[in-house]
Amino acid sequence: MSAPIDLPKWADTVLVPAVSVVAAFLVAGLVVVGIGENPLTATRLLIQGSLGSGEGLGFTLFYMTDFIFVGLAVAVAYHAGLFNIGGEGQATLAGLGVALALNNLTFLPGFLLIPLGILGAAAFGAAWAAIPGYLQARRGSHIVITTIMFNWLASVLIVYLLVNVLRAPQNMNPETPAFPPQASIPFMHEVFAAFGIEIPSSQLNLTLFLALAASYGVWLLIYRSRLGYAIRVVGSSTTAAVYAGISPARIIVIAMVLSGALAGGLAVNELMGYQHRLLLEFTAGYGFVGIAVALMGRAHPVGIILSSLLFGILYQGGAELAFEQPAITRDMVVVIGGIIILFAGALEGLFRRLVARAMPRPALARA
């Protein structure tokens, strides 16, 4: 229930999220003070570590790529009125899809293998999301609960497969053998080097462009396409959808399929772009960060790119911070993410009211 407060569009899409992010950082600052560290130093290290060097920037953009995918995944479902908190599991399965495609088709050349790997990721992520979608659409099982359950099922499944089926014979770690080298998505520094431009090396790879393309695709889909129109109608008003002859059940399944496929992008970036093998826990909780990203980005691709950048800065800067100030671990980032979800998501009404109260009357009247 959003309180019947009308804010001008710019306030709604920029000011309210900005205020909640600032508030989240203030609270996080209190946590830093609470553990006896200086929040200003921490902020400086964070910014320097993430944006202060070409290399830091590369890592920031690498993480941003991850977050764009999971943010888009949450957003697409959100537009259909669904709360997909199964990004973690869908990305995990997508990783399986990547591994199966790449390690079984090693004879293919890279220009075929890479698209097939991406396809494998999308297909497996989509399938893992389609089941909760179907259960919601046809059997009324609440998608939040089923996606939570599917997250755990995914992690159990992947452990089983990596330990018993996919593990390289000599390897003690539960991970697959390395993917064939031609299946690696080129690193950005390699690509630039090919053109004679030297940039600092980092994990950043060409998947970034895939993420940006996906953002454009999602924008086109949601805001410009007939399907996206139907998705938004279902998300906004089921009765209107029925009136319009749009089947909510069909749209729910489609939206979840798209959502799961997008979550698969995380596997593409992490595995095909960087790790070059499937290993446990490569999703590292990013699926949940996707919720924060989508909420803060107002489920709009541009907003998602911006909030992904913010979280990229947080993750990379946070890693540097953890290196420099061992008292502050990378978990700080998780805390900030949690506060942002709380503020921008659950307490949205409160912040809208605060913003409305602080705004001059005439601006509101024009809304």
Binding site: N171, E281, R330
Partner: protein, 311 residues
């Protein structure tokens, strides 16, 4: 790169696991005390962080960089290639690169000795083993242990459990405790663990039940004085110290460095905490077996040589 700036990347258990990682930590601390050379270290929170940490140290010119644990094998393979001038060491795995020293231990030899002691200390003729992650390395511990037990008492029964199949199995004391309890309920009165942080729960459960535990990696006799029969000490501290020292002195040699009883790489621990538990007879038997192993009179089978345990 001649700069000497040592660094350590621990395994998931963290540097205070009272076990393997802590051993590395203690070796580094000792080196710091002896020479005044400081070092940097990092405790990854998940699997994906190792590579970044290794690369990060390498880029900043740290050398040597000690990667603790077999799970860093694939990460180190990559990073070692990228930084050929940096010297690396990995403990418990083999990475064949010109700039990596691989340090592995003959855990089966040490495990044999504590198995022998366990059989001698057991009143019920039943002893237990709790492993961490179910991997060949840990089966190597188990296999050596079983051989030691049977060597001392042919009819002894050995219960074996592994905690899990992922890295989480190294840090699950609750599960470790449950496994130990179940072995105790079946009659085991001495339990050896090779389970990292999980083993803390094993030793505690044994102590709580009035039975004996056997520590691993570091000397864990002091965790529950009088309740830990002994510890199978793996001198990772010495190994770490030596890596630092070799690089400092320019004697670093890439390649595989296997440390067994002969090299003092493994041992069983005897100190004030367990001296009342080890009878003179037990000590004599263990010392004799150790001498026999060194001389080759006793051949302890290495599980990893053929993925089989003859027992």
């Amino acid at each position: 790169q001649d700069a000497f700036k040592p660094a350590i990347v621990y395994d998931l258990g963290g540097k205070f696991d009272k076990s393997f990682n802590e051993g590395v930590h203690m070796g580094a601390e000792k080196y710091k005390k002896d020479t005044g050379t400081d070092y940097r270290d990092f405790e990854p929170q998940n699997d994906a962080q190792r590579e970044q940490a290794l690369r990060r140290f390498a880029r900043e010119g740290f050398s040597p960089i000690v990667a603790v644990g077999f799970s860093q094998e694939s990460a180190l393979k990559k990073v070692a290639d990228e930084f050929p001038k940096i010297k690396f060491a990995i403990i418990d795995a083999v990475v064949e690169k010109p700039n990596v020293e691989s340090i592995v231990f003959k855990e089966h030899e040490g495990s044999f000795l504590v198995g022998l002691l366990a059989a001698k200390a057991s009143k019920t003729g039943k002893v237990g083993f709790v492993g961490g992650m179910d991997i060949p390395l840990i089966r190597k511990f188990a296999c050596g242990y079983v051989q030691g037990v049977k060597y001392a008492n042919k009819n002894a029964e050995v219960f074996q459990n592994m905690t899990g199949t992922t890295g989480a199995a190294w840090a699950d004391p609750v599960k470790g405790g449950e496994l130990a309890k179940s072995q105790i309920d079946r009659g085991a009165d001495v339990i050896y663990h090779a389970a990292g942080g999980t083993g803390i729960g094993v030793l505690r459960a044994a102590a709580d039940a009035g039975k004996l535990g056997i520590g691993v990696d570091s000397n864990q006799n002091g965790l529950h004085p009088g309740k830990v029969l002994t510890s199978m000490v793996k001198r990772v501290d010495v190994a770490t110290y030596n890596v630092f020292d070799q690089v400092k002195k320019g004697t670093f040699k890439a390649g595989i460095n296997v440390l067994g009883l002969k090299e003092d790489g493994v041992a069983w621990a005897l100190d004030d905490n367990n001296k009342s538990l080890i009878t003179a007879d037990m000590k004599a038997a263990a010392d004799k077996a150790a001498a026999d192993i060194k001389s080759g009179a006793i051949k302890v089978h290495d599980y990893m040589s053929d993925s089989k345990c003859p027992m």
